[in-house]
Symmetry: C2
Subunit: 466 residues, 2 copies
């Protein structure tokens, strides 16, 4: 396969023959298996991969890459298939390399607050496995994603305002490079100045530079106390102003999520909640009982200054779950509000000082378009998601939604923000990436890709065109 | 110049002619200026650079790089010269590119907790410039280093246990690449999944991939309250055990520094302090008055469990300064204890669970060698520095110290640690880097270097041999 072209059929067949010889039943070419590995949560449809191989060890990954390098056939790493931007799709054909069976917790170092896992371990499985230590892994992108996938897309979610993203929480990796070599990108030391930061080069590289086979992560003490709160505001601006003041005062809030009034109405109607109709903030505080109480009181005061009302507190797990129901159900309430709809999710992130402007202008635009939507935001980080609810039988709606997303991204970029806060570039944001960083930076990315994967076999056609 | 060889004299002369034509007095070839730029805080002596150019703008940097690319002459970025591992030394000749005049604060975005600066701004100048906003930049490597240099070496220091290192605190960069192109590596968004993390690839790249011309940094609210404490322990192990327990309980301590008993004795003798003779922890807490008080009380309790004594508190700035005098004077007390000595500083970092073992074995080794030393540690991060105090007239001492450092690094690596926590690789740690990461990872670094700087003109011979 020439760099950037479709794998030729003869090479692909030869590679699959070699893989079948080597992997037996762990190599599958059935249509059902290929189709399962040829779609993700994105709205793209492309032909499925030519085969699926289930790796059970780093050596399996090495073996697959050596075969694929020999025949110049693309390799697409696959975790649980929860990515949102078409990362898993076989746009240039090739082999889906499923690492979900590499699901061992390799080491728990409780004293050091680190854990080393294989890439197929999901975040919930990790938390289950370390529960007995009194520690937890905070990154929560919603889906029970694989930690390999979360690393590859630089995922984050609701806890990032306090605990950071995968960027801040991956300490070291084992990676198999395009030619089948195993490298280690770091140690378990908490900090290091030892050469180029290969760990962070791999975090967010979406499978285009190598296959992640081990991940050493930071973990955290479970907070002694957790309390949650919800508060309703007259408008988005008041909710955002409240958030800015919380952050500026250095209150170490663990979560602060926004739901707009339109979404609150959906929740009331479809999830049978009885929420005050307004822009809503959902918050969580972690710390000692005293610290949590103090944080909560400060935030209640700040909220009141911004006309916050219907303030509700929860400290027990059951009450907290009840309060957070609104956030957890936002997606489903949105989908139920328009039966049979297809959701397209946006993912811009802007400096928090521009967040209210960005949201208000974008909400006005969506409202004017007539496309139904829900809106949720990790407002402490300036990251938010519109979920456009589209009738799949009306192609014009998709065009309208794409147009809205284009305007939204341009607005975010004009405000010194990014086209993707946490979902990644995949197929969907390739042109936005160039607008965001400029052709110069993308060219540097291409040069790095070309240097580390000269045949272009690692998940080609993602982040930038192959 | 072929990759990795000394710049040939004709090329160098031609480049200097072109630079003089372009830069006039901003290009200097006087011996005194070259010598000033040909040494740093390391103990290496090599010939000075062939010329020094003072850049006053990004365009100046572009112009220098274009000339140097044309003539294949090395370029060595220079901030204030406080690096410790020979980063600035002209081992392959070439031009020292002094960016200290690029010292403008370009933007303060107080609401977003970000600031954008030129690389010649020092950390103290930044803090002075943002004082009026109630915000501060916490990374404190000791020296009043330039922020460009701190970025290039992935610096950290005493506050890293709470606020992270330059790795966590650089949001985005403007970089001039080896061929004189200007690229931007990120936006002001707090998080992003937009392609390869070029920001963190540049952080810690020691001037070998490009010249940093703008830095966007995170800043933080000045804590409402700060309190400091010192406590004396019967031995290093008790001090380290105390630290581990503090971290494990999730107490957000801002600083926790160790001074060993030998160094305490030096401080008592040469800095006229009256400290309890034992292993000493110095600590600082940041937060609301209530939170700080609570943290401090918890820590006092933990210390007592580990036979901590002579516990002292300070909350006013004056009292805090007095308590921290010991830490600030450790270097000078060490130097004064052996007049005329030369200091070689080590910089290993290990997982905190191995810290006591690593320290105890290493202290025993230095004691047995007869080389005088001081020992300070950022123990919350597992990072510590021996300062070997060498008689420059006794070459054998240098060999002994190098031997001690070799053993120390090997010990740290065997404990899953790193050869450099915060000083960087430079010239001194090149072979250790290979031991630490393996040849495979260093080969990936070389491939990246070669791809981004095919002529090898960017600070050649640092991190790995040119």
């Amino acid at each position: 396969m020439a760099y950037g072209k479709q794998a030729d059929q003869d090479s692909s067949k030869a590679a699959i023959r070699a893989l079948s010889d080597n992997f037996g039943e762990k190599c599958s070419t059935t249509l059902v298996m290929r189709e399962q590995h040829g779609r993700d949560e994105s709205s793209f449809t492309v032909p499925p991969p030519d085969a699926v191989v289930f790796a059970e060890s780093t050596q399996d990954v090495v073996d697959v890459l050596k075969v694929c390098a020999t025949y110049s056939v693309p390799v697409i790493p696959f975790g649980v298939g929860s990515s949102l931007e078409g990362h898993l799709l076989a746009v240039h054909g090739g082999i889906s390399l499923d690492v979900s069976r590499m699901n061992k917790i390799l080491a728990i170092h409780a004293e050091d607050l680190t854990v080393t896992v294989q890439p197929g371990v999901t975040r919930k499985a990790l938390n289950e496995a370390i529960k007995h230590t009194g520690l937890f892994f905070p990154i929560d992108p919603g889906a029970d994603a694989s930690l390999g996938g979360m690393t590859a897309t630089r995922a984050s979610g609701t806890n990032a305002v306090r605990y950071g993203t995968m960027r801040e929480n991956v300490l070291a990796l084992e990676v198999v490079t395009a030619n089948g070599e195993i490298i280690r990108t770091g140690t378990r030391a908490k900090k290091s100045s030892a050469g180029y930061d290969l760990t962070r080069l791999m975090v967010g590289s979406e499978g285009t530079l190598g296959v992640i086979t081990e991940i050493t992560l930071k973990i955290y003490p479970l907070p002694e106390a957790i309390s949650a709160a919800v508060c309703s505001f007259p408008n988005i601006e008041a909710a955002v102003r409240t958030t800015i003041q919380i952050i500026q005062m250095g209150i170490p809030i663990a979560r602060v999520e926004l739901i707009d009034v339109n979404t609150v109405r959906m929740l009331n109607k479809y999830a049978k909640l009885n929420l005050h109709e307004g822009a809503m903030l959902l918050m969580e505080f972690h710390g000692s009982p005293t610290a949590v109480k103090e944080q909560a009181e400060s935030v209640q005061g700040i909220s009141a200054e911004h006309q916050g009302q219907a303030f509700e507190w929860a400290t027990t797990p059951e009450e907290r779950t009840r309060l957070w129901t609104a956030r957890h159900n936002a997606y489903f309430a949105g989908v139920q509000s328009r039966p049979g709809c297809k959701v397209i999710s946006t993912d811009t992130c802007v400096p928090i000082s521009r967040l209210a402007d960005c949201l208000l202008e974008s909400v006005a635009e969506v409202d004017a378009s007539g496309i139904p939507y829900f809106l949720v935001g990790h407002v402490g980080d300036g990251n938010f998601h519109f979920g456009y609810l589209l009738d799949p039988n009306v192609p014009a709606e998709r065009d309208t939604a794409e147009g809205l997303n284009h305007k939204l991204v341009r607005r975010a970029l004009s405000m010194q923000g990014t086209c993707t806060g946490e979902h990644g570039v995949g197929l969907h944001k390739m042109s936005f990436l160039i607008e965001e960083t400029g052709a110069g930076a993308v060219n540097i990315m291409r040069i790095i890709k070309k240097a580390l994967d000269p045949q272009g076999i690692m998940n080609p056609g993602k982040i930038f065109a192959a």
